[in-house]
């Protein structure tokens, strides 16, 4: 897990400029910031890998692939005969 402390340097409509201790300038979506933040506030950001969500998504994706294959990949879908 990574945790860093950042200073809010500027707030715009959807993007904030955050600064690390060593002056790395980061454009950060305001949607990810807590409410009540203003210029000069300090935020702590944690970043963590989400293995369980990865597993879940992988399983859903596999099911999806099976469904597509089962639906379209096993036999030609009958198309309406257009002869008149």
């Amino acid at each position: 897990m990574v945790e860093v402390s950042l200073t809010v340097g500027k707030l715009d409509a959807s993007l904030a400029l955050l600064l690390t201790k060593d002056h790395h300038l980061i454009e950060f979506p305001t949607i990810l910031l807590p409410d009540g933040i203003s210029t000069g506030s300090i935020v702590r950001i944690n970043c963590d890998r989400d293995y369980s969500e990865e597993d879940l998504e992988n399983k859903q994706f596999d099911r999806l692939q099976e469904e597509i294959y089962d639906t379209f990949g096993k036999h030609e879908p009958k198309s309406p005969v257009l002869k008149v």
Binding site: K10, S14, G36, F61, I68, Y69, P77, L82, V84
Partner: protein, 667 residues
Amino acid sequence: MTSVTQGSIPEVVEKTIGESLGQRTSILDNVNDLGPPDMVHLAKATANSSAKTPSSGTFFYYTGTDTSNSATIAALLHSIADIIDEKPQLWFGKHKAWKVCEATYCSYNAFSRLDSRVKVAFPGGVESCMVDSSGNKQVETDRLWLQTYVSSMVRALVTADNDSSDFTSVVEIRKINPLLTKEGTDLFLDGFEQLFFEGTKLGCSENLQVPTNANNMLVDAFLKCIQITGDYERGLEIIGRLKTIDASVGFLEAQLYLSGDEEVKAVKSMHDAILANPLDGEMLTLQAEYCLDKNRLDLALPIATKAVNSSPSNFKPWSVLVKAYIALGQYEQALLTLNSCPMVTHKDKYILKRINNPRPEDMHLPLPVDVTLDKVSTLNSVDVAVEHNRVDSSLLNLPAANLKSTFAEAYDLLTQIVHKTGWEPLLHYRTKVFVMEEEFKQGGSDESSGGGSSLSPKKLPEATIADEETRKVGTSHGNALDNDFKKKRLCERWLDNLFMLLYDDLRVYTMYKAELLHFDAQQMEMKKTTCEWELTGLVASRLGHKEEAAKCFERGLEMRFSAKCSSKLLEYYTDEREKTSDSSKISDYNDKILELVVKLFVWNHRWYCSFSPVLINALKDLVNEVGRVKLESEIKVRFDDGNTGVYNVVEDNLECLDLYGLIERDE
């Protein structure tokens, strides 16, 4: 069968003999794509003068000739010289007897960045060489000749059917069908396989950020070749072998199955490839498109999302995701997703470019006399230019018409949305998802448009643009952010611009519809020139009003021939024929299509072009629908009166279809 005559060879006169060859060498250094089209240079002497030194130099371009070795090229140069020497040329209004002293053919090898050149001296002598951008000669090898040939073929295939109505396009060019012999096609397919892993050197389509092994100009030409010749089996064999070296080629396998109507195999191919690599963005995109075609939006949406997540820096998966949202009626999500699309800003479409800009008075553009069709081959380009210059500028300069690459595609997505929602709801969605500069100016009056249109009373409200400057400098909206606000996004500058262009297009279209109503109410007929009908049709077409567009193109053709109107209508009729099962309608469409196809063949022939995959394909369908015998007699009945060679030009293409077994054999 048609044959080459003096009337089918355009030429540009040089200021000094050989100048164009030097210019060609000097531009090589700046070439970073497929390069210039092939070029022929002729040094000509006056035939009756005793001196053997040439007095004039000319040149013109070529695509589609066999450039696989110096012998075939030399033979071509001999035949050109014979045609020119045969009898006096009609040369800038006078008959002039020439003798070709020397002829040079140049063909750019984009793999090795060399220009392959063959020079024939008359009566005897052939030399060949391969020069780099400094003019230094390289040792010729079989591989370099193969590269030259494949480069030529790729240029011919990928530029075929490019819109040539543009006033800046090259006209001093002969475009030959590159698939006239099976041997040539075989050699190209062999060359494709051998050079496959160098394909990225040829660049890629303008909609793609960077070329990949499975997506580049070489691959595009290969797919087109397979589609035209119908030889899917051969194509799949090649891809099968390449797949063992690079798994990403599986993407091409699936594409071939799909265009070869092997849907089940395609689905399995996609399925297997994705199981092997669930992050294969190209394959996921194809699968999402497939689900979208099948109208299984429940499957298309998550697959498109996965495609975007796997390949977020490519435009294509994003555009498929936008389409899924549009199909689902989730327009806010569609707009937000559109706004996130990564645009290609650094590239133009590959087109055939001149090596210099000749003066109009140096251009010899003869009229081929072997094929003539009243009002088509004789259409006067000066008259068309005059008509064009008289068109109202509001119609002529609609900027949406000039959108390029991903911007044109994004515009198309935006028009799909407005086609479903209408303009006012679209503005409402826009205001909901994007930060607006100020609130919608209710009731402000727009002086530039008249009454009657639902668009006229309001100006387009301004969105706050997302660019570097505004992001870093722009309006900081107070210190604390309110919550509603922070859920909105900044609209990208290019998307904001597309809204403006859409507004312009819609205004012109709405005005046209209002006028039409007015004329109908008065039982009067609306009068426009062909150019105006054409441009109005294109606006309607951009906005997705296909039937209305077709009506415009039909009205346009009532007055004179127009290649643009004809090809747009050909597309429309072909689509409509697919949709109906009413046999009298089908027969009606077939009639109309035949008329358009024949005229476009003649038009192309007049402009020295004998290769159009679109027309070959349309002809194939016609033959297979109505039968070859009926078609042939039909053409003779309808076009032979007072015209010449119309059937011959169609026959050239029938023979090509015959060669690949795509139509019933002629008895």
